[in-house]
Protein backbone atom coordinates (compact mmCIF):
# COMPACT_ATOMS: atom_id res chain seq x y z
CA UNK A 1 0.00 0.00 0.00
CA UNK A 2 1.65 3.24 -1.13
CA UNK A 3 0.49 6.02 1.19
CA UNK A 4 2.42 8.48 -0.98
CA UNK A 5 0.32 7.70 -4.05
CA UNK A 6 -2.93 7.68 -2.06
CA UNK A 7 -1.91 11.08 -0.69
CA UNK A 8 -1.13 12.44 -4.17
CA UNK A 9 -4.51 11.29 -5.52
CA UNK A 10 -6.32 12.64 -2.43
CA UNK A 11 -4.62 16.05 -2.66
CA UNK A 12 -5.47 16.38 -6.33
CA UNK A 13 -9.09 15.30 -5.80
CA UNK A 14 -9.44 17.76 -2.93
CA UNK A 15 -8.09 20.65 -5.02
CA UNK A 16 -10.30 19.62 -7.93
CA UNK A 17 -13.45 19.21 -5.80
CA UNK A 18 -12.98 22.50 -3.97
CA UNK A 19 -13.14 24.15 -7.39
CA UNK A 20 -16.40 22.39 -8.25
CA UNK A 21 -19.42 24.54 -7.51
CA UNK A 22 -21.84 21.61 -7.10
CA UNK A 23 -19.60 19.91 -4.54
CA UNK A 24 -19.11 23.16 -2.62
CA UNK A 25 -22.85 23.76 -2.49
CA UNK A 26 -23.66 20.26 -1.22
CA UNK A 27 -20.66 20.12 1.15
CA UNK A 28 -20.69 23.63 2.65
CA UNK A 29 -23.63 25.80 1.64
CA UNK A 30 -26.47 23.29 2.18
CA UNK A 31 -25.49 22.20 5.73
CA UNK A 32 -24.75 25.79 6.75
CA UNK A 33 -28.08 27.11 5.49
CA UNK A 34 -30.43 24.16 5.98
CA UNK A 35 -30.60 24.19 9.77
CA UNK A 36 -31.01 27.94 10.21
CA UNK A 37 -33.74 27.88 7.56
CA UNK A 38 -35.43 24.82 9.05
CA UNK A 39 -35.26 25.88 12.67
CA UNK A 40 -35.04 29.64 12.98
CA UNK A 41 -36.69 30.37 9.64
CA UNK A 42 -39.54 27.89 9.68
CA UNK A 43 -39.90 28.01 13.46
CA UNK A 44 -40.21 31.79 13.42
CA UNK A 45 -42.52 31.68 10.43
CA UNK A 46 -44.73 29.02 12.05
CA UNK A 47 -45.01 31.04 15.27
CA UNK A 48 -45.76 34.18 13.29
CA UNK A 49 -48.42 32.47 11.18
CA UNK A 50 -50.06 30.76 14.14
CA UNK A 51 -50.00 34.04 16.06
CA UNK A 52 -51.67 35.85 13.15
CA UNK A 53 -54.27 33.09 12.84
CA UNK A 54 -55.01 33.45 16.57
CA UNK A 55 -55.41 37.21 16.28
CA UNK A 56 -58.04 36.87 13.55
CA UNK A 57 -61.65 37.04 14.76
CA UNK A 58 -63.24 34.00 13.09
CA UNK A 59 -66.54 34.26 11.26
CA UNK A 60 -68.97 31.83 12.84
CA UNK A 61 -72.53 30.82 11.95
CA UNK A 62 -75.10 30.08 14.65
CA UNK A 63 -77.78 27.65 13.47
CA UNK A 64 -81.05 27.54 15.40
CA UNK A 65 -81.36 28.84 18.97
CA UNK A 66 -84.30 31.19 18.30
CA UNK A 67 -86.06 29.63 21.32
CA UNK A 68 -82.93 30.17 23.51
CA UNK A 69 -82.63 33.98 23.61
CA UNK A 70 -80.25 34.14 26.62
CA UNK A 71 -77.78 31.82 24.92
CA UNK A 72 -77.98 33.76 21.65
CA UNK A 73 -77.41 37.03 23.48
CA UNK A 74 -74.38 35.58 25.29
CA UNK A 75 -72.97 34.31 21.98
CA UNK A 76 -73.51 37.67 20.29
CA UNK A 77 -71.76 39.39 23.18
CA UNK A 78 -68.62 37.30 22.58
CA UNK A 79 -65.80 39.45 21.23
CA UNK A 80 -63.67 36.52 20.16
CA UNK A 81 -66.00 35.53 17.30
CA UNK A 82 -67.99 37.31 14.60
CA UNK A 83 -71.45 35.90 13.99
CA UNK A 84 -72.74 35.88 10.43
CA UNK A 85 -76.22 35.30 9.03
CA UNK A 86 -77.19 31.62 9.13
CA UNK A 87 -77.48 29.76 5.86
CA UNK A 88 -78.23 26.10 4.98
CA UNK A 89 -74.95 25.83 2.98
CA UNK A 90 -72.82 26.30 6.13
CA UNK A 91 -70.83 23.09 5.40
CA UNK A 92 -69.79 24.38 1.96
CA UNK A 93 -68.95 27.78 3.40
CA UNK A 94 -66.67 26.14 6.00
CA UNK A 95 -65.02 23.98 3.32
CA UNK A 96 -64.54 27.05 1.11
CA UNK A 97 -63.03 28.92 4.11
CA UNK A 98 -65.71 31.64 3.81
CA UNK A 99 -66.60 31.03 7.45
CA UNK A 100 -64.44 29.19 10.00
CA UNK A 101 -67.03 27.21 11.99
CA UNK A 102 -70.72 26.80 12.72
CA UNK A 103 -72.62 25.83 15.83
CA UNK A 104 -76.01 24.12 15.82
CA UNK A 105 -78.13 24.75 18.89
CA UNK A 106 -80.85 22.13 19.33
CA UNK A 107 -84.51 23.12 19.53
CA UNK A 108 -85.64 24.10 23.03
CA UNK A 109 -82.08 24.13 24.35
CA UNK A 110 -82.66 26.41 27.36
CA UNK A 111 -85.95 24.70 28.29
CA UNK A 112 -84.27 21.30 28.10
CA UNK A 113 -81.50 22.52 30.42
CA UNK A 114 -84.06 23.67 32.93
CA UNK A 115 -85.73 20.25 32.79
CA UNK A 116 -82.36 18.69 33.57
CA UNK A 117 -82.04 17.00 30.18
CA UNK A 118 -78.73 16.76 28.30
CA UNK A 119 -79.14 18.25 24.82
CA UNK A 120 -76.19 18.03 22.37
CA UNK A 121 -74.63 21.10 20.76
CA UNK A 122 -72.91 20.37 17.43
CA UNK A 123 -69.87 22.38 16.32
CA UNK A 124 -69.02 22.09 12.64
CA UNK A 125 -65.43 22.71 11.48
CA UNK A 126 -62.78 21.92 8.84
CA UNK A 127 -60.42 19.39 10.43
CA UNK A 128 -56.74 20.11 9.85
CA UNK A 129 -57.41 23.76 8.96
CA UNK A 130 -55.84 25.85 11.69
CA UNK A 131 -58.10 28.92 11.44
CA UNK A 132 -61.20 26.70 11.49
CA UNK A 133 -59.77 24.89 14.53
CA UNK A 134 -59.33 28.23 16.32
CA UNK A 135 -62.95 29.18 15.50
CA UNK A 136 -64.27 25.83 16.76
CA UNK A 137 -62.03 26.07 19.84
CA UNK A 138 -63.52 29.42 20.82
CA UNK A 139 -67.06 28.08 20.44
CA UNK A 140 -66.21 24.99 22.44
CA UNK A 141 -64.62 27.12 25.17
CA UNK A 142 -67.80 29.20 25.39
CA UNK A 143 -70.02 26.14 25.71
CA UNK A 144 -67.68 24.47 28.27
CA UNK A 145 -67.88 27.58 30.42
CA UNK A 146 -71.65 27.61 29.99
CA UNK A 147 -71.78 23.92 31.02
CA UNK A 148 -69.64 24.56 34.10
CA UNK A 149 -71.82 27.53 35.00
CA UNK A 150 -74.99 25.43 34.61
CA UNK A 151 -73.53 22.66 36.79
CA UNK A 152 -72.49 25.22 39.39
CA UNK A 153 -75.96 26.80 39.47
CA UNK A 154 -77.73 23.43 39.66
CA UNK A 155 -75.48 22.28 42.52
CA UNK A 156 -75.91 25.59 44.33
CA UNK A 157 -79.70 25.37 44.06
CA UNK A 158 -79.46 22.02 45.88
CA UNK A 159 -76.94 23.37 48.40
CA UNK A 160 -74.25 21.05 47.16
CA UNK A 161 -70.55 21.97 46.75
CA UNK A 162 -68.74 22.04 43.33
CA UNK A 163 -66.29 19.41 44.60
CA UNK A 164 -69.07 16.82 44.42
CA UNK A 165 -68.38 16.46 40.71
CA UNK A 166 -64.60 16.79 41.15
CA UNK A 167 -63.66 14.75 44.24
CA UNK A 168 -59.93 14.75 43.34
CA UNK A 169 -57.49 16.45 40.90
CA UNK A 170 -55.17 14.71 38.40
CA UNK A 171 -51.87 16.32 37.43
CA UNK A 172 -49.06 14.98 35.21
CA UNK A 173 -45.54 15.83 36.39
CA UNK A 174 -42.39 15.48 34.31
CA UNK A 175 -39.53 13.69 36.07
CA UNK A 176 -37.16 13.57 33.06
CA UNK A 177 -34.37 16.14 32.90
CA UNK A 178 -34.81 19.02 30.45
CA UNK A 179 -32.06 17.40 28.36
CA UNK A 180 -34.10 14.21 28.04
CA UNK A 181 -37.33 16.04 27.27
CA UNK A 182 -35.58 18.06 24.62
CA UNK A 183 -33.85 14.95 23.24
CA UNK A 184 -37.12 12.99 23.06
CA UNK A 185 -38.62 15.76 20.95
CA UNK A 186 -35.63 16.60 18.73
CA UNK A 187 -33.15 13.72 19.17
CA UNK A 188 -34.57 11.68 16.30
CA UNK A 189 -34.60 14.67 13.97
CA UNK A 190 -30.96 15.49 14.73
CA UNK A 191 -29.70 11.97 13.97
CA UNK A 192 -31.84 11.87 10.84
CA UNK A 193 -30.64 15.21 9.54
CA UNK A 194 -26.96 14.47 10.21
CA UNK A 195 -27.22 11.08 8.47
CA UNK A 196 -29.08 12.51 5.50
CA UNK A 197 -26.64 15.39 5.10
CA UNK A 198 -23.65 13.02 5.36
CA UNK A 199 -25.09 11.24 2.38
CA UNK A 200 -25.93 14.31 0.32
CA UNK A 201 -22.47 15.72 1.09
CA UNK A 202 -20.85 12.57 -0.26
CA UNK A 203 -23.12 12.28 -3.29
CA UNK A 204 -21.76 14.96 -5.61
CA UNK A 205 -18.06 14.24 -5.13
CA UNK A 206 -18.77 10.50 -5.51
CA UNK A 207 -20.41 11.15 -8.88
CA UNK A 208 -17.84 13.72 -9.96
CA UNK A 209 -14.88 11.49 -9.15
CA UNK A 210 -16.23 8.45 -11.01
CA UNK A 211 -18.98 8.89 -13.61
CA UNK A 212 -17.89 12.52 -14.01
CA UNK A 213 -14.35 11.38 -14.87
CA UNK A 214 -15.70 8.88 -17.38
CA UNK A 215 -17.88 11.54 -19.00
CA UNK A 216 -15.03 14.06 -19.21
CA UNK A 217 -12.62 11.43 -20.57
CA UNK A 218 -10.11 11.71 -17.74
CA UNK A 219 -10.63 8.16 -16.48
CA UNK A 220 -8.44 6.72 -19.24
CA UNK A 221 -5.85 9.43 -18.59
CA UNK A 222 -5.48 8.48 -14.94
CA UNK A 223 -5.60 4.73 -15.69
CA UNK A 224 -2.53 5.03 -17.90
CA UNK A 225 -0.50 6.48 -15.02
CA UNK A 226 1.40 3.99 -12.85
CA UNK A 227 -0.84 4.53 -9.82
CA UNK A 228 -2.37 1.22 -8.70
CA UNK A 229 -6.14 1.10 -8.96
CA UNK A 230 -6.42 0.31 -5.25
CA UNK A 231 -4.49 3.50 -4.45
CA UNK A 232 -6.62 5.44 -6.90
CA UNK A 233 -9.86 4.27 -5.32
CA UNK A 234 -8.48 4.91 -1.81
CA UNK A 235 -7.50 8.48 -2.71
CA UNK A 236 -10.92 9.09 -4.25
CA UNK A 237 -12.65 7.44 -1.31
CA UNK A 238 -10.79 9.69 1.16
CA UNK A 239 -11.96 12.75 -0.75
CA UNK A 240 -15.60 11.60 -0.71
CA UNK A 241 -15.24 10.81 2.99
CA UNK A 242 -13.80 14.28 3.61
CA UNK A 243 -16.81 15.84 1.90
CA UNK A 244 -19.18 13.66 3.90
CA UNK A 245 -17.46 14.46 7.22
CA UNK A 246 -17.21 18.16 6.38
CA UNK A 247 -20.95 18.15 5.72
CA UNK A 248 -21.55 16.34 9.03
CA UNK A 249 -19.33 18.74 11.02
CA UNK A 250 -20.83 21.82 9.41
CA UNK A 251 -24.37 20.52 9.85
CA UNK A 252 -23.78 19.81 13.57
CA UNK A 253 -22.23 23.27 14.04
CA UNK A 254 -24.96 24.96 12.10
CA UNK A 255 -27.55 22.96 14.07
CA UNK A 256 -26.08 24.06 17.40
CA UNK A 257 -25.99 27.70 16.33
CA UNK A 258 -29.52 27.47 14.92
CA UNK A 259 -30.99 26.03 18.11
CA UNK A 260 -29.23 28.69 20.14
CA UNK A 261 -30.64 31.30 17.81
CA UNK A 262 -34.05 29.72 18.03
CA UNK A 263 -33.91 29.80 21.83
CA UNK A 264 -33.01 33.49 21.71
CA UNK A 265 -35.89 34.27 19.41
CA UNK A 266 -38.19 32.59 21.88
CA UNK A 267 -39.81 30.57 19.16
CA UNK A 268 -39.35 27.41 21.21
CA UNK A 269 -40.99 28.91 24.23
CA UNK A 270 -44.02 29.79 22.24
CA UNK A 271 -44.30 26.33 20.72
CA UNK A 272 -43.24 24.01 23.49
CA UNK A 273 -43.92 25.91 26.65
CA UNK A 274 -41.43 25.04 29.34
CA UNK A 275 -39.15 22.77 27.28
CA UNK A 276 -35.62 23.90 27.99
CA UNK A 277 -33.06 23.47 25.25
CA UNK A 278 -29.89 21.71 26.23
CA UNK A 279 -27.42 20.26 23.78
CA UNK A 280 -24.22 19.05 25.41
CA UNK A 281 -20.98 19.06 23.46
CA UNK A 282 -20.36 15.52 24.72
CA UNK A 283 -23.64 14.30 23.17
CA UNK A 284 -22.93 16.04 19.88
CA UNK A 285 -19.42 14.54 19.74
CA UNK A 286 -20.81 11.09 20.55
CA UNK A 287 -23.39 11.39 17.74
CA UNK A 288 -20.63 12.48 15.40
CA UNK A 289 -18.47 9.52 16.45
CA UNK A 290 -21.35 7.10 15.85
CA UNK A 291 -21.93 8.49 12.36
CA UNK A 292 -18.27 7.95 11.38
CA UNK A 293 -18.68 4.34 10.12
CA UNK A 294 -21.91 5.41 8.40
CA UNK A 295 -20.05 8.12 6.50
CA UNK A 296 -17.46 5.50 5.46
CA UNK A 297 -20.32 3.24 4.34
CA UNK A 298 -21.98 6.04 2.36
CA UNK A 299 -18.74 7.19 0.76
CA UNK A 300 -17.74 3.69 -0.38
CA UNK A 301 -21.25 2.68 -1.46
CA UNK A 302 -21.86 5.89 -3.41
CA UNK A 303 -18.46 5.63 -5.08
CA UNK A 304 -19.17 2.02 -6.10
CA UNK A 305 -22.59 2.76 -7.54
CA UNK A 306 -21.57 5.99 -9.26
CA UNK A 307 -18.58 4.27 -10.87
CA UNK A 308 -20.95 1.88 -12.59
CA UNK A 309 -22.67 4.78 -14.40
CA UNK A 310 -21.49 6.06 -17.76
CA UNK A 311 -22.40 9.68 -17.16
CA UNK A 312 -23.17 12.22 -14.46
CA UNK A 313 -26.86 12.04 -15.25
CA UNK A 314 -26.98 8.25 -15.13
CA UNK A 315 -25.16 8.29 -11.79
CA UNK A 316 -27.71 10.75 -10.42
CA UNK A 317 -30.54 8.46 -11.51
CA UNK A 318 -28.88 5.58 -9.62
CA UNK A 319 -28.15 7.57 -6.48
CA UNK A 320 -31.47 9.37 -6.09
CA UNK A 321 -33.28 6.13 -5.09
CA UNK A 322 -30.39 5.58 -2.66
CA UNK A 323 -31.54 8.70 -0.82
CA UNK A 324 -34.90 7.02 -0.27
CA UNK A 325 -33.11 3.91 1.05
CA UNK A 326 -31.40 6.14 3.60
CA UNK A 327 -34.45 8.23 4.42
CA UNK A 328 -36.71 5.23 5.19
CA UNK A 329 -34.65 3.77 8.09
CA UNK A 330 -33.81 7.26 9.33
CA UNK A 331 -37.50 8.23 9.37
CA UNK A 332 -38.42 4.85 10.91
CA UNK A 333 -36.26 5.76 13.88
CA UNK A 334 -38.47 8.78 14.55
CA UNK A 335 -41.70 6.76 14.62
CA UNK A 336 -43.25 6.56 18.08
CA UNK A 337 -42.50 3.29 19.83
CA UNK A 338 -39.48 2.33 17.71
CA UNK A 339 -36.78 1.74 20.30
CA UNK A 340 -33.32 0.30 20.19
CA UNK A 341 -32.99 -3.46 20.66
CA UNK A 342 -30.39 -6.10 19.74
CA UNK A 343 -32.00 -6.86 16.34
CA UNK A 344 -32.44 -3.23 15.31
CA UNK A 345 -28.86 -2.54 16.42
CA UNK A 346 -27.77 -4.59 13.41
CA UNK A 347 -29.81 -2.62 10.87
CA UNK A 348 -27.50 -0.04 9.29
CA UNK A 349 -28.57 3.63 9.38
CA UNK A 350 -31.67 2.85 11.50
CA UNK A 351 -29.43 1.74 14.38
CA UNK A 352 -27.25 4.86 14.12
CA UNK A 353 -30.30 7.07 13.97
CA UNK A 354 -31.84 5.37 17.03
CA UNK A 355 -28.65 5.50 19.06
CA UNK A 356 -28.18 9.18 18.17
CA UNK A 357 -31.65 9.83 19.56
CA UNK A 358 -30.69 8.10 22.81
CA UNK A 359 -27.33 9.86 23.05
CA UNK A 360 -28.96 13.26 22.61
CA UNK A 361 -31.24 12.44 25.57
CA UNK A 362 -28.12 11.61 27.59
CA UNK A 363 -28.73 7.83 27.62
CA UNK A 364 -25.69 5.67 26.86
CA UNK A 365 -26.43 1.95 26.37
CA UNK A 366 -22.81 0.91 25.97
CA UNK A 367 -23.57 -2.64 24.81
CA UNK A 368 -25.72 -1.30 21.96
CA UNK A 369 -23.24 1.47 21.17
CA UNK A 370 -20.41 -1.07 20.78
CA UNK A 371 -22.65 -3.41 18.75
CA UNK A 372 -23.84 -0.61 16.44
CA UNK A 373 -20.38 0.81 15.94
CA UNK A 374 -18.91 -2.63 15.23
CA UNK A 375 -21.71 -3.69 12.86
CA UNK A 376 -21.55 -0.35 11.03
CA UNK A 377 -17.77 -0.83 10.68
CA UNK A 378 -18.37 -4.28 9.15
CA UNK A 379 -20.86 -2.82 6.62
CA UNK A 380 -18.44 0.01 5.86
CA UNK A 381 -15.58 -2.45 5.31
CA UNK A 382 -17.78 -4.53 2.99
CA UNK A 383 -18.66 -1.41 0.99
CA UNK A 384 -14.96 -0.46 0.79
CA UNK A 385 -14.10 -3.94 -0.44
CA UNK A 386 -16.80 -3.67 -3.12
CA UNK A 387 -15.52 -0.25 -4.20
CA UNK A 388 -11.96 -1.57 -4.61
CA UNK A 389 -13.25 -4.62 -6.52
CA UNK A 390 -15.36 -2.42 -8.77
CA UNK A 391 -12.29 -0.35 -9.70
CA UNK A 392 -10.58 -3.54 -10.90
CA UNK A 393 -13.38 -4.36 -13.33
CA UNK A 394 -12.65 -3.33 -16.92
CA UNK A 395 -16.30 -3.77 -17.95
CA UNK A 396 -17.25 -1.15 -15.37
CA UNK A 397 -14.39 1.29 -15.97
CA UNK A 398 -14.86 1.21 -19.74
CA UNK A 399 -18.64 0.87 -19.80
CA UNK A 400 -19.84 2.95 -22.76
Amino acid sequence: MSLRNIGIVYRKELTDSLRDRRTLISMIVVPLLLFPILTVGFGYLAVELVGKARQETPKVMVLGGEDSPKLLAALRALRTIRIVTPSPDYADQISDKKIRAAVEIPKGFEAALERGETPTVHIYMYEGEIKSAFGAERLEKFFRRLRDQTVHEQLASRNLPDSLLKPFEIEQKNVASPEKVWGAIFGGVIGYMVILLCMTGAMYPAIDLTAGEKERGTMETILCSPVARTHLVMGKFLMVLTASLATAVLSVLSMAVSFLGMGKLGAMGAKHGSVQMTLHAQGVLAVFFMTLPITVLFSAALLTIALFAKSYREAQSYLTPMTILVVIPAVASMLPGVELNAKLALVPILSTSLVSKEIITGTYHWNYIVLIFASSCVYAAAAMFLAVKMFQREDVLFRT
Partner: protein, 243 residues
Protein backbone atom coordinates in the same frame (compact mmCIF):
# COMPACT_ATOMS: atom_id res chain seq x y z
CA UNK B 1 11.30 -1.90 -27.16
CA UNK B 2 7.78 -3.30 -27.52
CA UNK B 3 7.15 -6.95 -28.22
CA UNK B 4 3.56 -8.18 -28.48
CA UNK B 5 3.29 -11.94 -28.13
CA UNK B 6 0.02 -13.47 -29.30
CA UNK B 7 -1.99 -10.79 -27.56
CA UNK B 8 -5.66 -11.68 -27.33
CA UNK B 9 -8.56 -9.83 -25.77
CA UNK B 10 -12.04 -11.27 -25.58
CA UNK B 11 -15.05 -9.25 -24.42
CA UNK B 12 -18.40 -10.71 -23.48
CA UNK B 13 -21.45 -8.85 -24.65
CA UNK B 14 -24.98 -9.84 -23.60
CA UNK B 15 -26.40 -9.22 -27.07
CA UNK B 16 -23.47 -10.04 -29.35
CA UNK B 17 -21.91 -12.83 -27.31
CA UNK B 18 -18.14 -13.31 -27.34
CA UNK B 19 -16.17 -10.62 -29.16
CA UNK B 20 -12.50 -11.21 -29.99
CA UNK B 21 -11.43 -7.57 -30.16
CA UNK B 22 -7.75 -8.53 -30.41
CA UNK B 23 -6.93 -11.96 -31.77
CA UNK B 24 -3.44 -13.43 -31.55
CA UNK B 25 -1.60 -10.19 -32.30
CA UNK B 26 2.21 -10.33 -32.38
CA UNK B 27 4.60 -7.63 -33.52
CA UNK B 28 7.84 -5.99 -32.50
CA UNK B 29 9.00 -2.37 -32.42
CA UNK B 30 12.60 -1.37 -31.70
CA UNK B 31 13.82 1.85 -30.04
CA UNK B 32 14.11 4.71 -32.56
CA UNK B 33 11.35 3.20 -34.71
CA UNK B 34 7.69 3.95 -35.32
CA UNK B 35 5.29 1.06 -35.66
CA UNK B 36 1.90 2.02 -37.10
CA UNK B 37 -1.30 0.04 -36.56
CA UNK B 38 -3.49 0.82 -39.55
CA UNK B 39 -7.12 -0.21 -39.42
CA UNK B 40 -10.71 0.87 -39.83
CA UNK B 41 -12.92 1.83 -36.90
CA UNK B 42 -13.54 -1.20 -34.67
CA UNK B 43 -10.58 -3.12 -36.09
CA UNK B 44 -8.98 -3.54 -32.66
CA UNK B 45 -6.36 -0.73 -32.70
CA UNK B 46 -7.45 0.98 -29.47
CA UNK B 47 -7.81 -2.31 -27.60
CA UNK B 48 -4.33 -3.41 -28.70
CA UNK B 49 -2.81 -0.14 -27.51
CA UNK B 50 -4.76 -0.26 -24.24
CA UNK B 51 -3.34 -3.76 -23.69
CA UNK B 52 0.18 -2.45 -24.28
CA UNK B 53 -0.41 0.44 -21.90
CA UNK B 54 -1.85 -2.07 -19.33
CA UNK B 55 -5.13 -0.17 -19.14
CA UNK B 56 -6.72 -3.49 -20.11
CA UNK B 57 -5.49 -6.96 -19.22
CA UNK B 58 -5.06 -9.53 -22.04
CA UNK B 59 -7.28 -12.61 -22.04
CA UNK B 60 -4.40 -14.54 -23.53
CA UNK B 61 -0.82 -13.89 -24.66
CA UNK B 62 1.32 -11.08 -23.31
CA UNK B 63 3.65 -8.26 -24.32
CA UNK B 64 6.96 -6.91 -23.12
CA UNK B 65 7.22 -3.14 -22.98
CA UNK B 66 10.59 -1.55 -22.12
CA UNK B 67 11.62 -4.93 -20.75
CA UNK B 68 8.58 -5.36 -18.47
CA UNK B 69 5.76 -7.84 -18.82
CA UNK B 70 2.32 -6.22 -19.24
CA UNK B 71 0.61 -8.92 -17.17
CA UNK B 72 2.99 -9.35 -14.25
CA UNK B 73 4.72 -5.93 -14.15
CA UNK B 74 1.95 -3.58 -15.18
CA UNK B 75 2.96 -0.70 -12.87
CA UNK B 76 6.54 -0.69 -14.25
CA UNK B 77 5.16 -0.79 -17.78
CA UNK B 78 2.94 2.25 -17.12
CA UNK B 79 5.89 4.07 -15.57
CA UNK B 80 7.87 3.49 -18.80
CA UNK B 81 5.14 4.56 -21.22
CA UNK B 82 3.73 7.86 -22.38
CA UNK B 83 0.18 7.23 -23.60
CA UNK B 84 -1.69 9.79 -25.65
CA UNK B 85 -5.05 9.55 -27.32
CA UNK B 86 -7.98 11.84 -28.02
CA UNK B 87 -9.78 9.92 -25.23
CA UNK B 88 -7.17 10.94 -22.64
CA UNK B 89 -8.65 14.27 -21.60
CA UNK B 90 -7.40 16.82 -19.07
CA UNK B 91 -8.72 17.75 -15.64
CA UNK B 92 -10.52 20.98 -16.52
CA UNK B 93 -10.37 22.47 -13.04
CA UNK B 94 -6.58 22.04 -12.74
CA UNK B 95 -4.11 24.45 -14.32
CA UNK B 96 -1.74 23.22 -17.03
CA UNK B 97 1.10 23.09 -14.51
CA UNK B 98 -0.98 21.32 -11.83
CA UNK B 99 -2.07 18.74 -14.39
CA UNK B 100 1.50 17.89 -15.38
CA UNK B 101 2.70 18.02 -11.76
CA UNK B 102 0.02 15.53 -10.72
CA UNK B 103 1.14 12.98 -13.26
CA UNK B 104 4.82 13.66 -12.61
CA UNK B 105 4.30 12.83 -8.94
CA UNK B 106 2.35 9.68 -9.81
CA UNK B 107 5.27 8.67 -12.04
CA UNK B 108 7.40 8.81 -8.91
CA UNK B 109 9.48 11.94 -9.69
CA UNK B 110 10.88 13.79 -6.68
CA UNK B 111 9.94 17.47 -6.38
CA UNK B 112 13.31 18.82 -7.64
CA UNK B 113 13.35 16.55 -10.71
CA UNK B 114 9.66 17.21 -11.33
CA UNK B 115 10.10 20.98 -11.45
CA UNK B 116 13.21 20.74 -13.58
CA UNK B 117 11.38 18.47 -16.05
CA UNK B 118 8.31 20.72 -16.09
CA UNK B 119 10.48 23.75 -16.87
CA UNK B 120 12.23 21.83 -19.66
CA UNK B 121 9.05 20.44 -21.22
CA UNK B 122 7.05 23.67 -20.88
CA UNK B 123 9.87 25.64 -22.50
CA UNK B 124 10.31 23.09 -25.29
CA UNK B 125 6.56 23.06 -26.06
CA UNK B 126 6.25 26.86 -25.60
CA UNK B 127 3.70 26.48 -22.81
CA UNK B 128 5.00 29.04 -20.30
CA UNK B 129 2.41 31.61 -21.37
CA UNK B 130 -0.49 29.50 -20.13
CA UNK B 131 1.05 27.30 -17.43
CA UNK B 132 -1.22 28.76 -14.69
CA UNK B 133 -4.38 28.83 -16.78
CA UNK B 134 -7.09 26.24 -16.04
CA UNK B 135 -7.25 23.45 -18.60
CA UNK B 136 -10.94 24.04 -19.38
CA UNK B 137 -10.04 27.58 -20.48
CA UNK B 138 -7.40 26.45 -23.00
CA UNK B 139 -7.74 26.19 -26.78
CA UNK B 140 -7.62 22.74 -28.45
CA UNK B 141 -4.01 23.26 -29.48
CA UNK B 142 -2.99 24.32 -25.96
CA UNK B 143 -4.82 21.31 -24.50
CA UNK B 144 -2.97 19.03 -26.86
CA UNK B 145 0.32 20.53 -25.69
CA UNK B 146 -0.63 19.90 -22.05
CA UNK B 147 -1.42 16.28 -22.94
CA UNK B 148 1.96 15.95 -24.63
CA UNK B 149 3.67 17.48 -21.60
CA UNK B 150 1.85 14.94 -19.42
CA UNK B 151 3.18 12.05 -21.51
CA UNK B 152 6.73 13.48 -21.56
CA UNK B 153 7.17 14.64 -17.97
CA UNK B 154 8.75 11.35 -16.84
CA UNK B 155 10.81 11.04 -20.07
CA UNK B 156 9.51 7.56 -20.95
CA UNK B 157 11.41 5.27 -23.33
CA UNK B 158 8.16 4.13 -24.98
CA UNK B 159 5.43 6.27 -26.51
CA UNK B 160 1.99 4.99 -27.47
CA UNK B 161 -0.36 7.17 -29.52
CA UNK B 162 -3.95 6.11 -30.13
CA UNK B 163 -5.32 8.01 -33.14
CA UNK B 164 -3.73 11.19 -31.79
CA UNK B 165 -4.91 13.51 -34.57
CA UNK B 166 -8.60 12.58 -34.70
CA UNK B 167 -10.78 15.67 -34.54
CA UNK B 168 -7.86 18.10 -34.56
CA UNK B 169 -7.42 20.99 -36.99
CA UNK B 170 -4.65 20.82 -39.59
CA UNK B 171 -2.12 22.89 -37.66
CA UNK B 172 -2.56 20.99 -34.38
CA UNK B 173 -2.48 17.66 -36.22
CA UNK B 174 0.76 18.71 -37.95
CA UNK B 175 2.27 19.62 -34.60
CA UNK B 176 1.38 16.18 -33.26
CA UNK B 177 2.88 14.45 -36.28
CA UNK B 178 6.04 16.52 -35.79
CA UNK B 179 6.12 15.53 -32.14
CA UNK B 180 5.84 11.81 -32.98
CA UNK B 181 8.73 12.17 -35.38
CA UNK B 182 10.74 13.95 -32.70
CA UNK B 183 10.14 11.05 -30.32
CA UNK B 184 11.73 8.71 -32.86
CA UNK B 185 14.69 11.05 -33.24
CA UNK B 186 15.17 10.92 -29.49
CA UNK B 187 15.48 7.13 -29.71
CA UNK B 188 12.08 6.32 -28.21
CA UNK B 189 10.07 3.28 -29.19
CA UNK B 190 6.84 4.57 -30.76
CA UNK B 191 3.62 2.72 -31.54
CA UNK B 192 0.70 4.60 -32.95
CA UNK B 193 -2.65 3.76 -34.44
CA UNK B 194 -4.41 5.56 -37.24
CA UNK B 195 -6.91 5.15 -40.01
CA UNK B 196 -5.38 8.06 -41.94
CA UNK B 197 -3.30 6.55 -44.73
CA UNK B 198 -1.19 9.65 -45.34
CA UNK B 199 -0.10 9.76 -41.70
CA UNK B 200 0.98 6.12 -41.80
CA UNK B 201 2.87 6.71 -45.07
CA UNK B 202 4.70 9.73 -43.68
CA UNK B 203 5.62 8.36 -40.28
CA UNK B 204 5.86 4.61 -39.99
CA UNK B 205 8.97 2.47 -40.26
CA UNK B 206 6.73 -0.58 -40.04
CA UNK B 207 2.99 -0.78 -40.75
CA UNK B 208 0.70 -3.48 -39.40
CA UNK B 209 -2.71 -3.67 -41.09
CA UNK B 210 -5.24 -4.78 -38.50
CA UNK B 211 -8.73 -6.02 -39.28
CA UNK B 212 -11.24 -7.81 -37.04
CA UNK B 213 -8.63 -7.97 -34.28
CA UNK B 214 -5.97 -9.73 -36.41
CA UNK B 215 -2.86 -8.35 -38.08
CA UNK B 216 -3.33 -9.36 -41.71
CA UNK B 217 -0.19 -7.80 -43.18
CA UNK B 218 2.98 -6.27 -41.79
CA UNK B 219 6.10 -4.67 -43.23
CA UNK B 220 7.69 -1.41 -44.25
CA UNK B 221 5.85 0.68 -46.83
CA UNK B 222 8.34 -0.49 -49.48
CA UNK B 223 7.83 -4.14 -48.55
CA UNK B 224 4.05 -3.81 -48.64
CA UNK B 225 4.20 -2.07 -52.05
CA UNK B 226 6.32 -4.88 -53.40
CA UNK B 227 4.21 -7.66 -51.87
CA UNK B 228 0.85 -6.36 -53.11
CA UNK B 229 1.97 -4.64 -56.33
CA UNK B 230 0.29 -1.34 -55.39
CA UNK B 231 1.83 2.10 -54.88
CA UNK B 232 -0.82 3.76 -52.75
CA UNK B 233 -1.18 2.58 -49.15
CA UNK B 234 -4.94 2.96 -49.47
CA UNK B 235 -4.96 0.45 -52.33
CA UNK B 236 -2.76 -1.92 -50.34
CA UNK B 237 -5.10 -1.58 -47.37
CA UNK B 238 -8.21 -2.32 -49.46
CA UNK B 239 -6.39 -5.25 -51.05
CA UNK B 240 -5.42 -6.74 -47.65
CA UNK B 241 -8.73 -6.14 -45.91
CA UNK B 242 -10.75 -7.29 -48.91
CA UNK B 243 -8.94 -10.63 -49.14
Amino acid sequence: MIEALQLTKVFHDKKRGEIRAVDDVSFCCQPGQIYGLLGANGAGKTTTLRLLATILEPTDGTARVAGYDVVTQSAQVRASVGFLSTATALYGRLSAQEMVEYFGRLYGLDEATLHRRIDEVFTRLEMNGFRDRRCDKLSTGMKQKVSIARTLVHDPPVMIFDEPTVGLDVMTARAIVGFIRECREHGKTVVFSTHVMSEAEKLCDTIGIIHNGRILAEGSLAELRQRYGEQELEEIFVHVVGE
